[in-house]
Symmetry: none
Subunit: 249 residues, 2 copies
């Protein structure tokens, strides 16, 4: 593994996990702790992470609370969310799962929207607390704390009795030929079911998620009806269009 690769990987882990411990990284990346220390030192001096004794923290305000957790691409996500909201009409039935993009989307929904929202994400449900005319149906399950989402057989079973107009899918990794993927099987099977019970699928995809993949493939990219992205690379976007995905830019 190349040094640059390794450091990118550290940044990616940090993006997901809020903190890293040097000795853990040493094991996960199979290099000595000295090398990890050097990496962390370097990334810190580049201003990309905050180095602390025994590990490193993600930059930005340390916040446990998921409802006010804002990540790096906050502004971009709000812009994408505004475009996504235009697809939502009164009386629609929406399935919405977890993710900061989806949270931004929900926060952009007009307060007078009349709709039904089915979600397995507690933060999404709570964010809809002030939308008086949105009925929120929460799917139960075992809470997966990394992404604050309910998963498991109960969740999938509950979806059996659901039919939705649109699924707002949180996407972490997407590659035009590989498809949409996540790092855990639990998330994968629930998302697959959500696709199944929905007429259309809409995802907000920041450009850093394009051309990436993880271990568990949910479905090919063409399950997306709409992909809203800030990427301007026409060659990439054309590939999605050729798979009947409507790309909004």
């Amino acid at each position: 593994m190349l040094k640059q690769e390794r450091q990118d990987f550290i940044l990616e882990i940090l993006d997901n996990e809020e903190r890293v411990i040097a000795s853990d990284l040493s094991q996960r990346l199979d290099v000595s702790e000295d090398t990890i220390r050097r990496d962390l030192k370097e990334l810190d001096s580049l201003g990309l992470i905050k180095r602390v004794h025994s590990g490193a923290l993600r930059l930005g305000p340390p916040v446990q609370d998921f409802t006010k957790r804002q990540d790096v691409n906050k502004d971009i996500k709000i812009e994408l969310a505004k475009k996504a909201v235009e697809f939502i009409k009164d009386d629609m039935v929406l399935v919405i799962d977890s993710g900061t993009s989806n949270l931004a989307f929900v926060n952009q929904l007009p307060l007078n929207l009349k709709a039904t929202v089915i979600t397995n994400s507690p933060p999404i449900a709570m964010a809809l607390g002030s939308h008086d005319d949105v009925e929120v149906i929460m799917l139960g399950g075992t809470m997966f704390k990394e992404s604050m989402v309910n998963l498991g057989v109960e969740t999938i079973e509950a979806l059996n009795t659901i039919r939705a107009d649109m699924y707002i899918m949180g996407v972490h990794k997407i590659d035009c030929s590989i498809g949409i993927s996540v790092p855990s099987i639990g998330e994968a099977s629930v998302k697959r079911k959500m696709i199944e019970v929905s007429n259309d699928v809409l995802s907000m995809v920041t450009s850093d998620k394009l051309n990436t993949f993880a271990s568990h493939i949910i479905a090919p990219a063409n399950v997306l009806t709409y992909m809203i992205t800030n990427s301007k690379k026409n060659d990439v976007l054309a590939m999605y269009e050729s798979q009947q995905v409507t790309v909004i830019n």
Copy 2:
């Protein structure tokens, strides 16, 4: 837990609770009191908190989060919660429903607690996000926004397959002779079911809730195993004791 994380956590607690006791923090964060003292000393010298004998105080007003409404009796509820936490042991299975007292309770649980929590309240589930050894099982249902809780037949059905050691019941209205009551039938039936599936029932009851009632009666007061209250009225409390309720004061 990294030192920096711990100190961030202390600041966050202080943001919620106005004051902290060193010995409490030691238990909640699972480190020695010496370490807590060193942390407080450090945070104080950074001008982030005001160190006082036995603990520390918040400087200035809390960072307002408009999404969560502030609570009238917050300090009292924190005190009751601290007493309630003493009843919780490792490996217990807890059912916890909604309410600000219950939220305070969950926030007081030590970070190293090993337990299973079953809840129909999204805020409760989210508050347990930093307890690595607490498995959270979320009950689905239709979200009742006034109290941010999932209700309905799905919720009750899911409880059918549950058996718990203790139910931490949010109580809004209680009267010694009338019983425990709520203003909606949906809440009443779910709470009734939660009582049914639990060996013991514990409630934190601020004095303003005593001798009040609402339209839908859940159960007589004697379903409570433990009632933790700040009320000092001995005549009232004696009436509960005579119904085999253990009153903690």
